[in-house]
Symmetry: C2
Subunit: 209 residues, 2 copies
């Protein structure tokens, strides 16, 4: 059976991916919320690994314990809208950690376990986050786009990398932001688009919706 790891499995898109992938993959579900991870395991089986992606040692341990991976999906993220002039350093750091530093740690330590793998990371379209209060989030998502492009160069023998760029998604993202937009995509729609892409030749960017 093929092996897949989903980092951020407890989020909206992550959970939808678990549901969609569990029949075809031996799944490792990674997240911070142990209770939610347990619920996922009860519902879908697979293995669960609590991990804070902002802690490099935890990410390192995660991949040391992992079998070779056919599929790695990074759907963790954080958003904390606040004007630059009053953004606490801790808020900036949390958003950068979840959206880009955690991806760096993951790619760094995943490298040895990637074997003709596919890697998907959830990004954000710059034009959809170009608003007051979104400096850290927009900066982090722009950063991860370039990080992934260079990972694709450095690790081209190991994996193919896809940045997923959905429209607004109906997920916990909006808890800190405001009302879910009326035309927001369901997380399952994004999961389906990823799986469809997974069964085709890899693209560097996958726009959804």
């Amino acid at each position: 059976m093929k092996h897949a790891m989903i980092i951020g499995a407890t989020g909206g898109i992550g959970s939808a991916l678990v549901a969609a992938l569990q029949s075809d993959y031996s799944l490792m579900m990674v997240g911070r919320d142990s209770q939610k991870l347990k619920s996922l395991k009860e519902q879908y089986g697979g293995s669960i690994i609590p991990c804070d992606v902002s802690n490099e040692l935890e990410v390192q341990a995660l991949f040391q314990e992992s079998p070779p991976l056919d599929l790695l999906i990074y759907s963790a993220g954080a958003v904390d809208p606040t004007l630059i002039k009053v953004t606490p350093a801790a808020s900036w750091e949390e958003v950068m950690d979840a959206n880009v530093t955690g991806v760096f740690y993951s790619l760094k330590h995943a490298e040895a376990k990637l074997n003709k793998a596919r890697v998907f990371v959830i990004g954000a379209r710059p034009e959809l986050v170009n608003y007051r209060g979104f400096a850290a989030y927009a900066a982090a998502k722009a950063a991860v786009q370039r990080l992934l492009a260079i990972a694709a160069i450095e690790m081209k023998r190991k994996a193919e990398f896809t940045l997923v760029l959905p429209k607004a998604v109906n997920s916990a993202f909006w808890q800190n932001v405001g009302k879910v937009p009326q035309d927001a995509l369901e997380p399952s729609f994004v999961a389906s688009a990823i799986i469809e892409s997974l069964n085709k030749e890899a693209v560097s960017e996958l726009r959804v919706g």
Copy 2:
């Protein structure tokens, strides 16, 4: 006399800016290297303030002591080419700190001192840094581009923001990278382009070379 602050005044572009601006501005020259700052002061006058931009308290103090600014230029930066799979967290952090987190701290604390000011930040063209080893640098420079775009929205009554996108520049950057490209711009050329732009209507991006 108008007031200008140059963060990263001891670097190639920073020093060229000091030379070019000293006759028209009361200059605050900011950097980490006290010896180099002293040399600049001996040569050009102005005031010098040692500051590590990765330390928010130092950046905060810097702007608390500053008069209202007509011009703020951020030309600090760091590069440390290394493959993702062997990049130490400290290297990633240093590059992110110098190229984007330091800009965040600066904009956050500068905000109260910007008064119809012009703000310039040195960026990098994505296509010029899309190479193996440049993940952190490319990520940081992409991040600062979005940070500046959102600062321009949030602080539009305070300042106009320009991201400077030069071709390769003949500067200390190459000490950690390799041979200076034959067609590299001289720092004074970039400084002249910034000053020319300063005397015209603000643009959000200034390509040089």
